[in-house]
């Protein structure tokens, strides 16, 4: 059969050509198709793909496909597109998804390796603290102040807002119940105890995870992508000392300070509810807080906040150093820094709860 296509073989005509061909090859007893290409002046990649598909389909059906009178530029393009080459087998499609047990195994091994690397990293930082203590200049005071500024004062507005609202909500929820028993004043006890012992350190740490862990991971990750970490290593700098230590020390300072601020903000929220809906005076609320809180409650919360802050800084730096040399890796590690920080904060909190329970603190 001789066919004379007249339209160009381009993207806009490809679908029509393909459908016409599908009808054509269904003709029974067809042995040869000769495409008289003389009227065709243009072929693009889509058109070449159509012709190659026909060639393949004809080969499978035992039909001989011939091109005749193709213009030189059409023939040149088809040659470039590989139309005249012997068709070769395409590479096999990417391998199937591995079975569930295998994926679980791989995930478990990855988790184990990750945990081991994190423990090694924490060990490395701990070892680096010693020499710095003997020579405080190695702590890099300028960098520490910079990171305290970044993680502390700049986090004050969000810490205030979150803690204030937390105190407000907690006081309001407690007030609804306690009012029934005429125990309004105990709202002060609940808010102050819950905040200083648990929620103040926890919420502050979660805010630090969202701000500082992400920032540290992104900063170090970008430095890795830009070969800055390699440059520092080759110049002989201890990466732990140069990049990690200032961040850990900065958060160890700003974490507890922010927690004190968060506690105060939360209690202020409680006072607002007490004054507006429980007929309490600010003085009576503060007096109750003063009487119920012990040094142990506040100190326990601050010890926790110190531990959380160190965890956040370490995880942020660890994930940053795990970054590979791609932009998407920076994104993944930043996300991972926040998720891992929050998980480890909760885990650390659980450990503290057990320790405090055992020592009746």
């Amino acid at each position: 059969m001789r066919c004379t296509p007249s339209a160009p073989f381009v993207l806009s005509t490809s679908r029509r050509y393909h459908e016409a061909f599908t009808r054509l090859v269904a003709t029974p007893g067809l042995r040869t198709i000769v495409l008289e290409m003389a009227p065709v002046s243009t072929v693009d990649s889509a058109g070449a793909a159509v012709l190659k598909t026909w060639q393949k389909e004809c080969g499978a059906r035992g039909i001989n496909l011939e091109l005749s009178q193709a213009a030189p530029q059409v023939e040149a393009f088809l040659r470039f597109a590989g139309f005249f080459e012997k068709p070769t087998a395409r590479p096999a499609p990417s391998k199937k998804r591995s079975p569930l047990p295998e994926r679980l195994g791989v995930a478990a091994v990855r988790l184990w390796n990750d945990t081991r690397d994190l423990i090694q990293f924490i060990g490395g930082v701990t070892v680096a603290v010693g020499p710095c203590c003997f020579n405080p200049k190695r702590f890099r005071p300028r960098e520490i102040l910079y990171y305290i500024q970044q993680s502390g004062p700049e986090a004050v507005p969000i810490v205030f807002l979150v803690s204030f609202l937390m105190g407000l909500i907690m006081a309001f929820q407690a007030a609804v119940q306690l009012r029934q028993f005429g125990a309004n004043i105990f709202v002060a006890d609940l808010v102050s105890l819950a905040l200083t012992r648990e929620l103040g350190p926890l919420m502050t740490a979660i805010i630090l995870a969202g701000r500082s862990a992400a920032a540290f991971a992104a900063e170090i990750g970008t430095m890795k992508v830009n070969e800055e970490v390699d440059a520092l290593t080759v110049m002989g700098f201890e990466i732990t000392e140069f990049l990690v230590m200032p961040k850990v020390v900065a958060l160890a300072v700003s974490g507890p300070l922010l927690t004190v601020f968060a506690n105060a903000s939360g209690i202020l929220g409680g006072i607002v509810v007490g004054v507006l809906s429980l007929d309490l005076t600010p003085a009576s609320f503060i007096l109750e807080v003063w009487q119920i809180l012990t040094v142990g409650d506040v100190a326990g919360g601050l010890v926790k906040s110190l531990a959380f802050a160190v965890v956040v800084a370490l995880v942020g730096c660890f994930r940053g150093l795990q970054t590979e040399r791609t932009a998407d890796s920076v994104g993944r590690m930043t996300t991972s820094a926040v998720v891992t920080s929050i998980f480890l904060i909760i885990l650390t909190d659980a450990v503290f709860t057990i320790i405090f329970h055992v020592f009746s603190w």
Partner: protein, 270 residues
């Protein structure tokens, strides 16, 4: 050892590798690599993309441990149990110009150059400032001392990185594709700068590159790597390699002619 090299040449070399195998984990990139670089020599390590040039550089500057064989840099063997101590000594004697420049983005140019001086010397600040000025002036950036790296062009960043790599007057300077991403004039300027450093200070230069113009301009000796051979396929002066080599891969590289490779592959096909 080549015929015209004496044993003392090799023993006095500032860089020496023997049967070096490098790679990542279980992936071997290069194996059985043996070469040396003499003091004051300019050697280019060249080859196509993915042939292991940068991996070899990483092994030479101690960023990755070799998988096998031996490496001596500036007289220290950087393999074995004392690798860490050796690397600490080696890093005082080498400078590295990274492909991206790798200047610290949050530091000014002056701070970047001053960084190794402040960290590893006890010089007073006035002296450090003077050295920083000298180094930046040497690379033509004295007026840009207080600029941040992001405020400069790619070529200027490379020159600033060169000033930092030279801060401690290293014995050996490693350069990873110094002309990559630069226009031909800027690349030629950088090449001239490297030649001046070599002539004025007698510094040994190991330059990883695949820029033919740079190779011909600066190289006294070239070592060509190949990804299929996973090792060195040729070494010698670049002119000799260009004009006298019979290896199709070397010829294809130096004459920018991929068809030579195809012809060679065709002639070996049964």
């Amino acid at each position: 050892m080549k015929r015209n090299e004496t044993r003392s040449d090799v023993e006095e070399a500032v860089i020496r590798t023997e049967n070096l195998t490098v790679g990542y984990g279980e992936t071997v990139v290069l194996q059985g690599v043996t070469f040396h670089v003499a003091k004051g020599e300019i050697v280019t390590i060249l080859g196509g993309s993915g042939c292991g040039k940068s991996t070899l550089l990483k092994a030479l500057i101690g960023l990755i441990p070799p998988l096998g064989g031996s490496v001596w840099v500036a007289g220290h063997p950087i393999v074995g149990p004392d690798r860490q101590e050796a690397l600490e000594a080696v890093r005082r004697k080498i400078g590295v110009l990274f492909q991206s420049g790798a200047l610290l983005g949050s530091f000014t140019l002056a701070d970047n150059v001053a960084l190794p001086l402040e960290e590893f010397t006890d010089l007073p600040k006035a002296l450090i400032d003077e050295i920083v000025h000298t180094k930046l002036a040497a690379v033509g950036l004295a007026d840009y001392a207080q600029y941040m790296p992001m405020e400069l062009s790619g070529g200027m960043r490379k020159r600033a990185a060169l000033a930092r790599a030279m801060a401690l007057d290293p014995e050996i300077l490693f350069c990873d594709e110094p002309s990559a991403g630069l226009d031909p004039v800027t690349a030629a300027e950088l090449d001239t700068l490297l030649l001046q450093l070599n002539e004025a200070l007698g510094i040994t230069l190991v330059v990883i590159t695949h820029e033919l113009a740079s190779i011909l301009a600066i190289s006294q000796r070239s070592i060509m790597l190949d990804s299929e051979a996973k090792g060195i396929i040729a070494q010698g002066s670049p002119r000799d390699l260009q004009e006298k080599s019979t290896d199709p891969k070397v010829l294809a590289f130096f004459h920018r002619n991929p068809s030579l490779l195809a012809q060679a592959a065709g002639s070996t096909t049964p």
